[in-house]
């Protein structure tokens, strides 16, 4: 693909990287190399989007396009530094990566869970590529998603979680992606594949976190395949540094009568964008897409969601809540597609934004594309401020202004935090939120 290297700017440099890696990928299975080539082609065609692209209208990623991110040199992270980003009280395995590289020291994979395989993607590709072939890169459609295409073309490592059929996994599995300060801002393309067998239950926590004021770029893709009758809870905690760039895509592929819930939290990043896409690919699937994001300063957080009701009797529930302070910007775009076959679909979408300052701004847009006639589909969006009445009530009982404000912000978040079934994550999330807010009540458990 020598011609690709002539493209200009960072698109060109990514493609150069692709060419360079391509040479060393002789060991990769042919099917994967074919997918990668097609992804590189898609990325070359699409380029890095501009605000002229409808999907990126309010999110200007020029700082990502203009930045010559490099591959990070190895960086050591202490266990103490990493521990801050592991949700406490879970007890399950942790697979940790530093700037995209697997870290054996920070991972705990010694006690395997029965019926569960947790490993690095690179390892799995070497040992058992046949298991990945039907899934890796097959569920998400990268032809119109430049960053997902870029990840597919360039990913080097990540995690694989496989849960056998009829297996209830008690402990949640944690995947930790740390970004550190590097001599020059660096890029990583972590890739995750989660395969949950028929009638099984599993919970996966993905944390993307910055250690120190990283100015790097994380471009993550996760595919989650939920077998028939299976139940999967997915938690995504984006805690990048406030100067970092983060683009993520999580793809849920739901089997017959399966249930997935996604709890997508975004607190970090200078520019952060996440696309959550759920395809209800068989009858009677149930999907929850919830999200909570908080931005202040001049940061921007963009959440795009897409629920594709492809088959009948599916349900989807979606609540996204945004908290914006300073001159921060929020973007929410919620697409719900109900295909002609998807009769008896029940879809509900809510988007609420709390503006804590006059200069904060949100652009919110529901996108309902309904091609079936016997469906229930509701959506609502509100943008508001803290209630003066409520603030006065709290203050009139002796609670200081800062505490009163942060109580009300935490209360606003409970629609999302309160719906987290896994107690340690629920508590952790409330703590993280409280820590972002002024006041003295952070230590009091709220949800």
């Amino acid at each position: 693909m020598a011609t690709l290297t002539t493209s200009g700017g960072s698109v060109g440099s990514y493609l150069t990287a692709f060419d360079r890696l391509e040479g060393g990928r002789a060991h990769e299975p042919a099917w994967l190399r074919a997918i990668r080539r097609s992804a590189a082609g898609a990325f070359e065609r699409l380029g890095i989007p501009t605000t002229r692209d409808e999907e990126w209208r309010f999110t200007n990623v020029a700082p990502i396009a203009d930045n010559p991110f490099v591959s990070a040199p190895p960086v050591a992270v202490s266990e103490e530094a990493a521990a801050r980003f592991v949700v406490p009280g879970i007890g399950g395995p942790v697979v940790a990566f530093v700037n995209g590289r697997y870290s054996r020291e920070l991972s705990t994979l010694d006690t395997p869970l029965p019926g569960v395989t947790t490993t690095t993607l690179a390892d799995a590709l070497e040992r058992d590529p046949a298991r990945l072939e039907p899934h890796l890169g097959r569920h998400l459609n990268f032809t119109d998603r430049p960053f997902a295409a870029l990840n597919t073309a360039l990913f080097e490592d990540g995690a694989l979680v496989v849960v056998a059929d009829n297996t209830v996994v008690e402990q949640a599995i944690q995947l930790l992606f740390l970004s550190t300060v590097t001599p020059a801002p660096s890029v990583s393309h972590p890739r995750v594949l989660v395969l949950v067998g028929r009638n099984s239950q599993a919970r996966v926590i993905e944390t993307f976190a910055g250690i120190g004021p990283s100015r790097g770029f994380t471009n993550a893709v996760t595919e989650i395949v939920v077998g028939a009758g299976a139940v999967v809870d997915h938690y995504r905690l984006q805690r990048e540094s406030e100067s970092a760039f983060h683009i993520g895509h999580t793809q849920f592929q739901l089997g017959r009568s399966s249930t997935s819930s996604s709890h997508n939290v975004a607190f970090g990043g200078l520019i952060a964008r996440h696309d959550a896409v759920a395809v209800l690919g068989d009858e009677g699937a149930n999907c929850t897409l919830n999200g909570l994001y908080l931005a202040d300063g001049v940061r921007l957080i963009d959440n795009h969601t897409e629920i594709d009701h492809a088959m009948p009797h599916g349900t989807s529930h979606e609540i996204y809540k945004g908290i914006l302070d300073g001159r921060a910007r929020g973007v929410f775009n919620g697409r719900i597609r109900v295909r002609p076959d998807a009769q008896k679909t029940d879809a509900k979408q809510t988007n609420k934004t709390l503006l804590l300052s006059d200069d904060a701004q949100v652009n919110t847009k529901p996108q309902l594309e309904i091609f079936a006639n016997d469906v229930k589909c509701t959506h609502g969006a509100t943008v508001g401020q803290l209630s003066e009445e409520a603030l006065f009530y709290l203050r009139a009982r002796g609670i200081g202004l800062d505490d009163a404000r942060s109580l009300l912000v935490r209360a606003f978040a409970t629609d999302v935090t309160g719906k987290i079934a896994l107690e340690p994550v629920r508590t952790e999330l409330d703590h993280l939120l409280a820590a972002k807010l002024p006041g003295t009540l952070a230590e009091m458990a709220f949800v």
Binding site: F392, Y393, G398, G400, R410, M444
Partner: protein, 251 residues
């Protein structure tokens, strides 16, 4: 304890309090009555520090300090408690959590140690009994979905926990059935002591049968037009506010 001098306050361009003078001494209970829209809630709100009211003249001294210079939370910590005429519903904030935060803010200000969850629960258990409060209300969001009576009871319950030195009750009796009224009055009377005072805003004599005031004032169009002992309330019940207004016109 509380000294209000020529207090004038407005909302926007509308003057609502047009020169109030009132002195409440330690240990006294004052009832404030008067027709709808006469300014009773405005007076209560100004004392508690509600921001939309602008004081344009006069002064309020509380325990020798300028009350109007304090933020609402500082007033609360200094022992002022307003039982709201319309308690606010706050979805997502658990009642018990809120009250513990409030109590500890007040205790901290008083130099008392903060209570942990166990100590707090022990304390409120007794107060719940006093106010005949349903335990379930404690784990619900503040006032959300509470009946009118439950909201009022919750106000007095909060008061019982916070033990203010000056309680201002704004129509706490309206919306209560007779049993609830007795319970609420009990709660208020339990706090009565030579160190504490109260201002009780009401339209009805019946509350004053249970919370017997030392003084009764009638507010009309932003002024106190008449003050007297507890028998003034009886007279008002009998003759209505028209009687005072006519008397004023004649004078």
């Amino acid at each position: 304890m509380l000294e209000i001098k020529n207090l004038r306050a407005r909302v926007g361009n509308k003057e609502i309090l047009k020169g109030i003078d009132l002195v409440v001494k330690t240990g006294e209970v004052h009832a404030v009555m008067g027709p709808n829209g006469s300014g009773k809630s405005t007076l209560a709100g100004v004392l508690a520090g509600r921001a939309e009211y602008e004081v344009i003249e006069g002064s309020v001294t509380y325990d020798g300090h300028d009350l109007l210079a304090l933020e609402p939370e500082e007033r609360a910590r200094e022992g002022i408690f307003l039982a709201f005429q319309y308690p606010v519903e706050i979805p997502g904030v658990n009642n018990a959590y809120f009250l513990k935060a409030a109590l500890n803010a007040v205790r901290k200000h008083r130099g008392e140690p903060e209570l942990d969850a166990m100590e707090f629960m022990a304390l409120i258990r007794g107060k719940m009994k006093l106010l005949d409060m349903d335990q379930a209300l404690m784990s619900r969001p503040i006032n959300e979905g509470f009946s009118g009576g439950e909201k009022k009871r919750n106000e007095i319950f909060q008061m019982a926990v916070l033990e203010p030195t000056l309680a201002i009750l704004d129509e706490t009796d309206s919306g209560l059935d007779i049993d609830a009224l007795k319970v609420v009055a009990n709660g208020v009377n339990a706090l009565r002591s030579p160190e504490r005072s109260a201002i009780v805003v009401t339209h009805y004599q019946r509350l004053l049968n249970y919370i017997v005031p030392d003084y009764v004032h009638v507010l009309s169009e932003g002024r106190i037009v008449r003050s007297g002992g507890k028998e003034l309330a009886l007279e008002l019940e009998d003759k209505g506010y028209g009687w005072i207004e006519t008397a004023l016109e004649r004078a």
